[in-house]
């Protein structure tokens, strides 16, 4: 059942909801950061954060507290002498380069509740021993950047940021850094290169950012929503926060933003306890499918996550499997969590579901996505640069009815040739959705080869645009 909450979204839609006044009035703004900085040690913050079971909200789902604990203990201190002499400074880099097709949640946070992001940065900086946080925002989001900068100004005037936030001798500054229109800069090491003023090409790992990140110093990269929810978690106690989730028992805690888009009656972003099902999101949040059609497939969490079809059933006969209670049911009735979606053969990603109605041409959907990946491949690794372009060429030929059987079979090889052969996960992000479409829409693709799906009959939208 849907469990709606409003810890993050209470300020949404309110007059001046993005200002400090509203944040302090409606959400007890900055009280949690004050308590954390004045009463807890850095180690206590990390231990507490682990209990929240916040899985990274950017798509990979790595536990936030564990990531914080990777940071070295020694960090260089403030001018007044705290910290360890000779140690390198630490940095917090906040990933707000939201650009995965189908993902539209972080933007609402920056525009409607920027102070939660800043308060999260303060606690995050303290927890990892950093004095500077850079929020890397994609350049297109001008309103979001202005709201964040306004929030930083307000917080600094009040003394929540600066040399001694809340009187604590731990200087914290937050800066907004603009990207310049490259999806790949959402990949953490690419983001670090971009922040340093370089081309946004991902780095080889190791070294991991916790050892050598921004400017060669220990760095934690967290998604913006991950940090924005931190004040809520610390405010109620991290364990209590984790228990809000329906999937608390499998280490997936708290509340998060869920979105629906595509062929639904009402696209939306809502805050829910972790664990709603696809059906609940589509019908209760999205108001159902446009034209009351059936569903062809959904992309569960951003275009890189493999599609799911409603007729797919859960196979989990093992009573130890977290999916066992759903054995034999549709994957659309499984609670959306990091582990549950992995066991369904896809990924939770960013929790923003793209719904594709029956009657839509799946080949065109695939071709559209491949256009995106071809455009956005940074070009550093050959399998990704060439592979994405080949996938686009072949899917375009399929769509035009010009592809041969051999080319259709070749799609599979091309996609497999990218998997695991690139520096960053963009390669998998391209290949996984392609493989899922190839596997789940094989009859449609074969019909393209036989010339039975003319291009002029292909449709993408349910309702005519007017």
């Amino acid at each position: 059942m849907l469990k709606r909450t409003d810890y993050l979204t209470r300020t949404y839609g309110k007059p001046q909801g993005w200002t400090l006044g509203v944040y302090e009035r409606d959400l007890d703004g900055y009280q949690v950061a004050r308590r954390v900085l004045t009463t807890m040690t850095r180690e206590q913050v990390v231990e507490e954060a682990k209990k929240a079971n916040i899985r990274g909200r950017g798509g990979a789902g790595f536990p936030m507290g564990v990531k914080w604990s990777f940071m070295p203990r020694a960090s260089s201190g403030t001018a007044s002498g705290a910290g360890v002499p000779g140690a390198k400074p630490h940095y917090l880099v906040v990933n707000a380069d939201e650009g995965e097709p189908g993902t539209h949640k972080d933007r609402t946070l920056m525009e409607e509740n920027p102070h939660a992001c800043i308060e999260g940065c303060i606690i995050g900086c303290y927890g990892i021993g950093a004095h500077i946080a850079y929020i890397y925002v994609r350049d297109e989001l001008h309103l979001a950047k202005a709201r964040l900068e306004g929030a930083i100004r307000e917080a600094r005037l009040k003394g929540y940021l600066g040399k001694t936030p809340f009187g604590k001798d731990h200087a914290i500054e937050v800066h907004v850094h603009s990207g310049a229109g490259a999806y790949i800069c959402g990949e953490e090491t690419s983001m670090l290169n971009s922040l340093e003023g370089r081309r946004g090409e991902p780095r080889m790992k190791p070294p991991f950012p916790a050892n050598a990140g921004a400017f060669g110093c220990p760095t934690t990269v967290n998604n913006l929503e991950t940090l924005a929810v931190v004040p809520t978690a610390f405010g109620m106690g991290c364990e209590a926060f984790s228990k809000l989730s329906l999937l608390h028992s499998i280490g997936d805690g708290g509340v998060r933003l869920y979105g629906v888009n595509g062929h639904v009656k009402k696209g939306a972003i809502v805050e829910l306890a972790v664990g709603p099902t696809l059906n609940e999101l589509i019908y209760d949040v999205g108001g159902g499918v446009q034209g009351d059609r059936g569903i062809l497939c959904v992309i569960p969490g951003g275009s890189s996550t493999p599609i799911l079809r409603p007729e797919e059933l859960v196979k989990a006969p093992d009573p130890k499997s977290p999916l066992h209670p759903y054995d034999g049911k549709s994957v659309f009735d499984v609670p959306l969590g990091v582990e549950t979606m992995r066991l369904c053969g896809t990924m939770l990603g960013t929790c923003c579901v793209t719904v594709i109605a029956q009657g839509t041409d799946p080949v065109w959907c695939l071709q559209n996505l491949m256009q995106f990946y071809t455009h956005e491949s940074c070009g550093q690794c050959t399998p990704c640069r060439e592979g994405s372009a080949w996938l686009l060429r072949v899917t375009t030929k399929l769509l035009d009815g010009q592809a041969s059987r051999a080319e259709l079979d070749g799609l599979h090889d091309i996609a497999n040739g990218i998997m695991g052969n690139t520096i960053c996960a963009f390669g998998e992000g391209t290949a996984m959705p392609a493989l899922a479409f190839i596997q789940k829409f094989r009859p449609e693709l074969e019909a393209c080869v036989r010339g039975e799906r003319p291009r002029d009959k292909a449709v993408l939208s349910v309702e005519p645009w007017q």
């Binding site: 400074p89 939201e98 650009g99 995965e100 097709p101 189908g102 993902t103 539209h104 972080d106 933007r107 500077i132 994609r138 350049d139 297109e140 001008h142 309103l143 500054e173 800066h175 850094h177 603009s178 990207g179 310049a180 229109g181 490259a182 999806y183 971009s194 922040l195 340093e196 003023g197 370089r198 081309r199 946004g200 400017f215 979105g259 629906v260 888009n261 595509g262 696209g267 939306a268 972003i269 992309i299 275009s303 923003c352 793209t354 594709i356 839509t360 959907c365 559209n368 996505l369 256009q371 995106f372 455009h375 940074c378 993408l460 939208s461 349910v462 309702e463 005519p464 645009w465 007017q466």
Partner: protein, 159 residues
């Protein structure tokens, strides 16, 4: 002609200097300032950035050519970006694009003859829940209807 920042942008640059431990980190912010001033990043601007930040011009050029949003050539007075990626496409983005092309009499990637509007497609602009959408200069326009697009384009071409 040598490139120089206007005094207000020079001030903005000075405000940002202390934020980063290296000069190189100012590459993107400074390029944004240059583009804001001139509409695109010229070779003179690249030379200016490289001299200000003590970087080889090849580094700066490499950065400019990597990022989609840095224009390497002059563009129109207004920038129209229509999102074409799947969630928007499912809700009529291709119709929006076609409509804009017809109204402006140009193809995507081109600028109107009077130099007022450059029309381009964009890859996902993080507004999927309110598709179809387009960005005009710094503003987002969401839940687009034909009527709305007409009004937006009229404002631009009349300006």
């Amino acid at each position: 002609m040598p490139f120089a920042l206007s005094p207000d942008r020079e001030r903005k640059l000075q405000e940002m200097v202390g934020r980063y431990p290296t000069k190189m980190a100012l590459t993107l912010p400074l390029l944004h300032l240059c583009q804001e001033q001139a509409g695109y990043v010229s070779d003179d601007a690249i030379l200016f950035v490289s001299q200000r930040l003590d970087l080889p011009t090849s580094h700066v050029k490499g950065v400019v050519t990597f990022y989609t949003l840095f224009n390497q050539h002059p563009v129109g007075k207004h920038q129209v970006w229509v999102c074409r990626t799947l969630p928007c496409a499912l809700r009529g983005a291709y119709d929006v694009i076609e409509h804009c092309e017809k109204r402006l009499g140009i193809h995507c990637g081109e600028t109107t003859a009077d130099g007022k509007v450059t029309l381009r497609t964009a890859e996902c602009l993080a507004s999927c829940g309110t598709a179809p959408m387009m960005q005009v200069d710094k503003d987002y326009h969401e839940n687009l209807t034909r009527e709305r697009v007409d009004a937006i384009l009229k404002d631009l071409t009349d300006s």
